[in-house]
Symmetry: C2
């Protein structure tokens, strides 16, 4: 039944050989990997204005130079990631780049930040999208958390079905959103050109403003750079592209950068020219759209596609998280289950883990995005800084043709990213301090897991250890609870193994039972030795373990192997298990974890 | 650590032989088994007045004849249960009596009612006691549920320590309560005799009252009979008494009946003479105490011991529930785990189950007793009726010396009990209907569990089945995931068993792996046959199960037994298990539940 439900939800299993068919074309990749970055223009420009308004409306003209600064950062990031794509065609992004050029620890800092950040991507994007919906339909406001959870579940299912199918579904909304903003910006510029907007709505660029400071401007710049979250997604996902993957990925990255630059500049310019003031209940994009069109069909089209792309931005996390997890698992910093491909060839465990953790975040923060955004931005800019610093070292070391230009691009990117990161810690410490707690914790966990896997590998490898102890004979211990078919079957099996010694063990709680059972046993199975262990404290485990210790000590001297045969009857129906004292199960678990004996279970299947 | 905590809370384990020392003397038994019955006088008389006041204060004189009716019922019940004690010295009460004389179904109706009723005893008594405390200290009112839960946990721990120790702790409050009420009744009667109470506070007995009806009087009688809940406890607990158990139990029963009769009559009479009107916020006993003494030390002494005995009344449930559960488990109507004695020789599973379920009831009903009391009373009077009807049949069948007198007592008891039960259904249907839902449900559960145990017994018994299939040889299947120490150890073990055939199985996901591994294996272990099963859908379980089916079919033809040896490495620390894909565990579980093969686990203990 479970497998039918699974098939209905995520489709029939795919053969490993069908993997090639799931690769992405450029058009689909642009949709699937850039929704996070593109959707950021829905809130990025607004973040700049929110900081500037603390000084006054007159300061709004600073959004133009700040916007240009963000564009410079965007260009630097795009150029830098373009070089990363060619330098690391197997993907891995910040984690791989930092690890190879800066060393293990910086690599893990980048990897750990990104891992958490993808969870935040999902939580933030879905919450923000849900907020957009509940703002449009206020009666749904009480259900913010359940609605967001349903969206996460739906996106998780889409991703479990497989990456191409979800791309088909996701391509339309992303392109519709781009179309909607192009219409908005075009109509806005036309209106300005034809004098439809009064020219006195905004202070001219260069107007002196009292109270402005470099600190405030940097803070506004840091806030605005949250519009760039998501640009690293393509460089992580190169293996998902059709061949030639690096070339296709680089082209897609440039296309995304171009779109992002146009949309961001357009929104920043219109907001400045229209003199839009950020309000708590109406977004900047909504105000621009309303001023341009009034509340007609086009307004709702823009609002609707914005809400949709915010929710779908979560999908970027679903593309990037499992691939990063595979890289970390390959290096044995997280469990290997993240390397297993599911029925539909996606890395199901990573996808499910991401879905579950983002639901936890949404529920814990009650769907309130504003507390998560600063954490999210810091989590993005730490790996940005690390990977670009890594690229600087790479160029200095390798010095390929034209390395000076490449170095300049990466150095600029690294510098601006570092500034943004530092700005976040200086100006928003109250919101971003958890990074300083969780990042070391994650690093410690990576370290412990890695240590374990390395130790396991060493112990299992044949070449590095002493030769095995030979097995020169077998001793079988057979705990029995009575004289039944289950026991009969077990004794017959023990005999068939031609062991050197078979010892049946009976553990009575009362002295009187002892003699009675010994007598019965002698009549029934005279050729198998029976040992009775009276247990005054009514425990089966304790006397049995003590006895097995003794047997094992003696056996080891002769290089004999001890096997414990546990008879177990298997009820026909699952609920019947609740009716029996699971003694077999407890004995087996205790033996496996505590003793160096082999444990054999002889099942006896009940037929009714 | 867990075992240290356990020892601290419930004491050192006791040997089975120490059981005799835990038996009860009469004095302790009276305390431990009668707190439920005696505490009922704190609310029984009040229930009568609550019904009568619906007609008017003038009707209060009817509490005297109704009280006499309750006393008659009490005498009938005491005499009846005294006969039951001698007739059934091994205990079991209503369940055993009904089962033996009326048949299986009535027995199970009685048993099921009582089982649920003991849970209600705990929930009702503790909630009522907590209410008494929170009435005295209104600031605690918001914490009613947590306080009640803490009390249940404490009583559960006391009972897990063992029955005698809890009796020592419980004896004082019960006797203090009896002493307190004796002082109250004595002082009240003295005050009446010396003219301290005006004689015109009450209408004389026989005053005609408008609006009185037989229905109302029967309802008042039914309500008042809730003061008799708990009188059956002694007859269920005979095995807990010191020898001669039946004689001691009968004497204890008479003592309890006498005390209950005196206290009940005293409270009813004083309430009538003082003209006490039932109020929502002050209990009848509290009003009597205040009128007699004013709010001095004696008043608080009476209130305090009343609160205490109500909470301790829950203990009756803890004495009776596990013993009834043992009787039901012996007859295989509930799981056998209820027959297991814990470290301190109490039936721990029954005690814990009772604690947990009553906490569930308290939390579900938010500690409000008033909704539970009618259910509780019905649950008591159904088995009362059944067991006394059973006794009637017994006397008619056996006709021992003096049977006519015994018959009369039981017939009277059965008739009054039946009337009370019917009255509850007629007059309080809105509160007692759940009995009609849950009782059939419990009976169905008893039936299904019994059917299962009977079937298991038949299948395991050696005499009733065909002779076992002989094992003429062994085939060993050994799934391997690589060439490691774990696999080496498993292969060596398989060889040591001198099986007729050993087949190693490797399941690659990619075609390329197949040849590589076969080559490696041939070089490493040329004398063990390797089968590779390419799994295009990346499942280990499916191809393995299919292969084992094939092997098993062939083996069965030759009377060969198939054993699957599963290598498993056991990490040093528990949390390491989360890091590995628990494939061994899944293979083992699937094999045990689905296939008729023997499953052997070869543990390989990692040292770091």
């Amino acid at each position: 039944m479970f497998s039918n439900l699974k098939r209905l939800l995520i489709g029939r299993p795919l053969k490993s050989a069908e993997l090639g068919e799931q690769k992405l074309t450029k058009t689909k990749a642009l949709a699937i990997l850039s929704s996070d970055a593109l959707s950021s223009v829905a809130y990025g420009p607004e973040q700049i204005l929110i900081v500037l308004i603390t000084v006054g409306i007159a300061a709004f003209w600073y959004s133009i130079p700040i916007g240009i600064g963000v564009l410079v950062l965007l260009i630097a990031l795009i150029l830098s990631y373009r070089q990363i794509i060619y330098a690391y065609p197997h993907g891995g992004g910040a984690y791989v780049v930092s690890k190879e050029n800066l060393g293990k620890i910086p690599g893990l800092v980048a990897g750990g930040s990104l891992l958490v950040d993808y969870i935040l991507t999902v939580a933030v994007s879905v919450s923000a999208g849900t907020d957009a919906i509940t703002s449009a339909f206020p009666s749904l406001h009480a259900y913010t958390v359940p609605i967001a959870v349903v969206f996460v579940v739906l996106i998780t299912l889409l991703n479990l079905r497989g990456v191409t199918e979800s791309a088909s579904i996701l391509a339309y909304p992303v392109y519709l959103f781009v179309l909607a903003l192009f219409i908005l910006i075009g109509a806005g510029l036309y209106k300005i050109a034809t004098g439809g907007i009064p020219a006195d709505m905004h202070a001219p660029v260069g107007t002196p403003v009292a109270g402005i400071s470099l600190f405030l401007l940097l803070r506004a710049f840091a806030s605005g750079s949250s519009a760039l979250t998501g640009v690293e997604a393509i460089s992580n996902a190169i293996p998902n592209f059709k061949e030639p993957a690096p070339r296709n990925a680089a082209k897609t990255l440039l296309a995304m950068g171009g779109l992002l630059a146009v949309l961001f500049s357009g929104i920043v310019y219109l907001a400045y020219y229209y003199g839009v003031t950020p309000k708590e209940e109406v977004t900047v994009v909504s105000q621009i759209a309303e001023t341009t069109f009034g509340r007609n069909f086009l307004y709702f089209f823009i609002q609707g596609t914005t809400a949709l792309i915010l929710i779908l931005a979560a999908n970027t996390g679903y593309s990037a998280f499992p691939l990063l997890a595979v890289n970390l698992a390959k290096d044995r910093f997280i469990p290997r289950m993240f390397m297993v491909r599911g029925d539909r060839l996606g890395y199901s465990n990573g996808i499910i883990m991401l879905g579950v953790l983002s639901i936890v975040l949404i529920v814990a923060f009650k769907g309130k995005t504003e507390h998560l955004i600063p954490l999210y931005a810091v989590g993005v800019f730490i790996p940005f800084t690390l990977s670009q610093t890594g690229m600087i070292l790479k160029w200095l070391r390798e010095k390929p043709a034209g390395w000076a230009g490449k170095l300049a691009a990466n150095a600029l990117g690294a510098l601006i990213s570092l500034t943004v990161t530092v700005m976040f810690f200086l100006t928003k410490f109250a919101q971003v301090w958890p990074v300083l707690v969780f990042l070391p914790l994650i690093l410690y966990l990576f370290h412990r897991i890695n240590k374990h896997f390395v130790a396991v590998g060493e112990q299992l490898r044949l070449t590095t250890c002493e030769p095995p102890v030979p097995i020169e004979g077998n001793v079988i211990v057979l705990p029995v609870a009575g004289i039944t078919h289950v026991v009969e079957h077990s004794v017959n099996y023990a005999k068939s193994l031609k062991a050197d010694q078979i010892i049946a063990v009976y553990i009575p709680f009362e002295r009187e039972e002892e003699a009675v059972f010994e007598e019965k046993w002698k009549r029934w199975m005279p050729d198998v030795r029976l040992v009775t262990l009276h247990s005054p404290y009514r425990s089966i485990i304790q006397p049995l373990m003590k006895f097995i210790d003794t047997v094992e000590r003696k056996a080891r001297e002769n290089h004999y192997q001890v096997t414990v045969i546990i008879p177990q009857f298997i009820p026909k129906k699952g609920w019947h298990n609740f009716l029996h004292n699971q003694t077999s199960f407890v004995i087996r678990a205790t033996l496996l974890y505590r003793k160096d004996v082999i444990v054999t279970t002889v099942p006896y299947h009940l037929k009714k």
